[in-house]
Every structure is written in structure tokens, then in C-alpha cells.
């Protein structure tokens, strides 16, 4: 495999992991605009463990993910008191504060960045991304996923039917944060370098963009959205400086024609019917 293709696929793998981190809370109707902050927690925590305590990577990255999830849980409880746009802005502010704290934390290099001694090769990254996708597919078949959809569709009815709305929201938020932390930890160990500036608001916002573009009705949407957003600008590389402008025009027109996203449940039904007819 050429170095270029490997590079693109690794970026794709990271984007897929981040997309599912956004998808989980969004499946319960919460827009998390601070995903980059949780990625930063996972990245810095796991890098710190491998650098300072000589932990092996396979233990440090999950622990970083767990820590990001824990922060998500602790912060999710007060923040999830807010709804809708207030919640979106609270998560947005949270992401900004977390990255800014790491930017000022001298023990992990501050603004100069933090080199990581251990290295995760491209195949580790692919396998991890595939693992996240499989895990999400499994989760999507459980009762938990059904509860999330119920909370999103109508919180009042879900509450009346005995679903703990608040519990579901906090769980989805914390799980999403853990997935983001996992992606961040992996990122630190693949590129062998972490800098707080990478985990900025645009990273969060663009990840939300992939997910909404792919569609939030099914578990496949984030995967398709992340793949599309990573690969199409590469294909447009021939047109060089116009590619992002063309891409933006395409997004605008696409969302105007198909606001529900690329992959929807009715699309799945259509395919299934065709398969049955054949």
C-alpha cells in the first residue's frame, strides 16, 4: 500500500471513531459540539501514562478513554440540565475550556506540544476503528439503542413508559465521550505527538457535520458520512484550490435536497424489499 493511501485510510479511521462519538449522544437527541475536548483528554491521559509510567499502549489508551468517559459523566450531570441549543453551546464551551487547559498545562508540554514515545502502526488504527464500528453495530441491536431513539423521538412518552430519560441521556453522553477519548488516545500514539491546538472547535464542528450528512436515523450514517467527507476531498484534489469550495457547494445543495442525511431507515427498507423480490 502506498504511503499516501495509508495516510488517507488512517485519517478515515480516526474520522469514523470521532463520528460515532458524536453519533451516540445525537441518537438520544443531544448535539455535542465539544467532542474535541474529550479527544484531548484521551490523548493526553494515555500519552502521559505511556511516557511517564511506561504503561503499555494497549492499557493506556483504554484507560484514557475511560477517563474521558468519566469526565463526560461528571460534567454531563450538570450540563445535561440544559436542552437544545443551550446544551449544544454548553458542550461547545466545554470543548474550548478543556483544550485551553491542556494548552496551559506545562507538565504535558503546554503550547509546545507533547511527544509520545510509543507508536501504534496503521493496522492497529484500522483494527481499532473496525472494532468501534462492530461495537456500535452490536449496541444498535440492544434495548439501550431503542431507549435512546425513544428519548430522541419523544422524551415525554419515553418517560411515561418507564425509560429513565435523564439516565439515558447521561449514559449516551458519557459513552460518546469515552469513544472520543479512545480515538484521541489512538491519535496520540499513531502520530507520536499531541498538541492542544489540534483539538479545536472546528474538529468538533466538522465531526458533527459528517454525522448529520451521513444521517442519524441508522447506525450506518456516521460511517458513510465520515467516509464521504474523508475521501471525496481527496478525489477532488485534481481541482486543487477549488476543491473545498466545490465541496461546500455540494454539501449545501445536498442538504437542501435531502435534509435527513444520506443513509435513512426508508433507504434500508427499499433495499430489503428489492432483496426479497429478487
Amino acid at each position: 500500500m502506498s504511503g499516501y493511501l495509508t495516510g488517507v485510510l488512517v485519517v478515515l479511521a480516526f474520522n469514523v471513531i470521532a463520528a460515532y462519538a458524536v453519533y451516540l449522544p445525537l441518537a438520544a437527541g443531544q448535539l455535542n459540539l465539544g467532542i474535541a475536548g474529550f479527544m484531548a483528554i484521551g490523548a493526553y491521559a494515555s500519552a502521559f501514562l505511556t511516557n511517564e509510567y511506561m504503561w503499555p499502549m494497549w492499557a493506556a489508551i483504554p484507560l484514557g478513554a475511560g477517563l474521558a468517559g468519566l469526565v463526560g459523566l461528571l460534567i454531563g450531570v450538570p450540563v445535561l440540565r440544559t436542552h437544545g441549543i443551550y446544551l449544544a453551546m454548553a458542550t461547545f464551551a466545554l470543548g474550548q475550556v478543556i483544550s485551553a487547559v491542556f494548552l496551559n498545562l506545562e507538565v504535558v508540554g503546554g503550547a509546545a506540544g507533547y511527544p509520545v514515545t510509543d507508536y501504534a502502526g496503521p493496522y492497529v488504527v484500522y483494527a481499532a476503528a473496525a472494532g468501534v464500528v462492530v461495537l456500535m453495530l452490536l449496541v444498535s441491536r440492544t434495548r439501550f439503542a431503542l431507549c435512546l431513539t425513544a428519548v430522541k423521538s419523544d422524551a415525554t412518552v419515553a418517560d411515561l413508559l418507564g425509560v429513565s430519560v435523564r439516565g439515558m441521556k447521561v449514559a449516551a453522553f458519557a459513552l460518546g465521550a469515552a469513544v472520543a477519548g479512545f480515538g484521541g488516545g489512538l491519535y496520540a500514539h499513531h502520530y507520536s505527538f499531541v498538541e492542544a491546538q489540534h483539538f479545536n472547535v472546528l474538529l468538533s464542528v466538522f465531526t458533527v457535520l459528517y454525522v448529520l450528512f451521513g444521517g442519524t436515523q441508522t447506525v450506518w450514517g456516521p460511517l458513510v458520512g465520515a467516509a464521504f467527507f474523508t475521501l471525496v476531498p481527496e478525489l477532488l484534489r485534481a481541482s486543487d484550490q477549488w476543491r473545498y469550495a466545490l465541496f461546500a457547494v455540494f454539501i449545501i445543495l445536498f442538504m437542501a435536497v435531502r435534509p435527513q442525511g444520506l443513509v435513512t431507515s426508508s433507504l434500508f427498507r427499499l433495499f430489503r424489499r428489492k432483496a426479497e423480490a429478487a
Binding site: 464551551a93 485551553a100 496551559n104 458533527v208 442519524t216 454539501i251 449545501i252 442538504m255 437542501a256
Partner: protein, 290 residues
């Protein structure tokens, strides 16, 4: 020293104030977090710069930039806002972000990604008051911003047009039943918020004498923060929020360091959202936004 920093903070706050009011119009009336507004802010500054470079005098260049921003905002209304009515509330956010990316890249192609120097219009015209130095250009911007906001507040509270806008904000269906022509009112609101954002961009360029294709991002997000700190949907809340955010930014830069700006500005936002989600001057939310 402290007094000087407070003056600087208030001047910066005047810019945030205009952006916050632009956001608050879109959110309060249309329920739309319009992420193209940072792009329109940038269009204001960059196009004014570009047209002046092409030899236009400042006032005509500024008018051209404002007209362009208004036109782009009509496109945003047509392609990002109108098709999304009745759909998922997050979706217009995606398309308005698409416009932000598009505008930034068009400017990048035209003028390059570097920071450009905006010509000084009122060179070295300062008022010295005691130990304080106050730039005339900055003073004019502050007066202009406050004047515009006062006018807007008066318009909304005391004219027939303002009453129509408030009716739509209160309840869209009722407004329709009362015979308000929403399909005409909505584009007008888009133009108004675009003009406010683009004017803020021009004032920013004049005051700080620099423009770049990405100048809208930082200011735009701080404008959103200012809107929420002050109270979403409240014009005077946006004014207060803008001044508070501007002060917090300038004071933390000069007393602690540039790297802590995001901690103080967004920490303030987070604190307000947890302690008093409706903002300093907002009424408690009676209905869901977004």
C-alpha cells in the same frame, strides 16, 4: 493600566456586541443558529479590503461589502433555512456551516490565506484623557454600534414592523393566522442580521487594521458566547454579553497571558449555562430552541 485595558475591552466588546445581536435576531425570531454569520463578518472585512485595493474609496467599498453580505445571506435563507422547515432542528446548522466553508475558501482563492494589512483610515488620531489613549476610529465604532442597537431595540418595541417580528418570534402559526407575510419577513430578517455581522467585520478591519479569510471564526464564536451570556433573544442582553466577553478577553490577556483567553471566555460561558441558562438578562426559556 487597568483603566486603559477596560477601555480596550469595551472597544473589542462593541464588535462582539454587533455579532451577538446578529445571532440573536436569527435565534430569537427564526430559531436558527446561523453559522454562516461568521462568514458574513469575514466577507464584510475582506471585501471592503479587496474593493479598496481595487481603488474604491472607503465608504463605497464598505457599502459594496455590505450589499454582497446581504445578497449571500439571501442565498443562505434560500438554500439553508427554507428547505429545512419542519425537519430535524440540527440540519440547517450543517448547511449554514457549508456556507462558512464556501465563503472562506472563495476568499482564500481570491486573496490568499495570509493576514493582510487593512489601510489605516484615521491614522494616529487619538484622544488623550488623563493617562488614557482612546482611538477615534474605535470611539466611532462604539458609538455606531450602540446607536444601531438602540435603533433596533426601538424598532422592535415601538413600530408595526417590530411588532410583526415579535409575533413571529412568539408563535409562527399564530403570526401566519394574523395575516403576517412570513415569506417576506424572513428574508428581511436575514438581510438585517447579515448587515449587522458584515458591519462588525468592517469595523473590526478598521480598528485592528488586519483582515484574513479566517477572521470570522474566532470573533463569530465569541459572538455566540456573548449572545448566550447576555441571554438569547434579548437585544440588550447581547449588548451586555458582548461587553462582558470583550472585557474578559482583554483583561485575561493583559494580566495572565494570551493562552488563557479561551479558559476565561468559554469558562464564563459554561458557568453561566450551568448556573443561569437563560443568561444574564434573558427570561426563563418557555419553549425549546433549536
Amino acid at each position: 493600566m487597568l483603566a486603559q485595558q477596560i477601555v480596550n475591552g469595551l472597544m473589542l466588546g462593541a464588535i462582539y456586541m454587533l455579532v451577538a445581536v446578529a445571532f440573536t435576531l436569527a435565534i430569537g425570531v427564526l430559531n436558527f443558529l446561523n453559522f454562516s454569520l461568521p462568514g458574513l463578518f469575514m466577507v464584510g472585512g475582506m471585501l471592503a479590503f479587496g474593493l479598496m485595493k481595487a481603488g474604491w474609496p472607503f465608504l463605497i467599498a464598505a457599502a459594496g461589502a455590505l450589499a454582497a453580505a446581504a445578497f449571500v445571506s439571501l442565498l443562505v435563507e434560500r438554500f439553508a433555512y427554507r428547505p429545512m422547515q419542519g425537519g430535524d432542528p440540527e440540519v440547517p446548522l450543517v448547511s449554514s456551516l457549508g456556507f462558512l466553508v464556501l465563503l472562506e475558501n472563495l476568499m482564500l482563492i481570491q486573496y490568499g490565506s495570509d493576514q493582510q494589512a487593512f489601510p489605516a483610515l484615521l491614522p494616529d488620531l487619538n484622544i488623550r484623557l488623563g493617562g488614557l489613549v482612546i482611538g477615534i476610529a474605535q470611539l466611532i465604532s462604539l458609538a455606531l454600534s450602540l446607536g444601531l442597537v438602540t435603533f433596533l431595540s426601538w424598532y422592535l418595541s415601538s413600530t408595526a414592523g417590530g411588532r410583526r417580528i415579535r409575533t413571529v418570534a412568539e408563535n409562527r402559526e399564530t403570526a401566519l393566522l394574523m395575516g403576517i407575510d412570513i415569506s417576506r419577513l424572513v428574508p428581511q430578517l436575514f438581510i438585517a442580521s447579515a448587515l449587522l455581522a458584515a458591519l462588525a467585520g468592517i469595523l473590526f478591519a478598521v480598528n485592528y487594521q488586519q483582515v484574513s479569510p479566517f477572521m470570522g471564526e474566532g470573533v463569530g464564536f465569541k459572538g455566540v458566547a456573548a449572545m448566550i451570556v447576555g441571554g438569547m433573544g434579548s437585544i440588550w442582553g447581547a449588548v451586555l454579553g458582548g461587553l462582558v466577553i470583550g472585557l474578559a478577553e482583554v483583561l485575561s490577556i493583559s494580566f495572565i497571558g494570551a493562552d488563557v483567553v479561551n479558559i476565561s471566555v468559554y469558562g464564563l460561558l459554561l458557568l453561566i449555562l450551568i448556573v443561569r441558562p437563560q443568561g444574564l438578562m434573558g427570561r426563563a426559556a418557555s419553549r425549546e430552541k433549536l
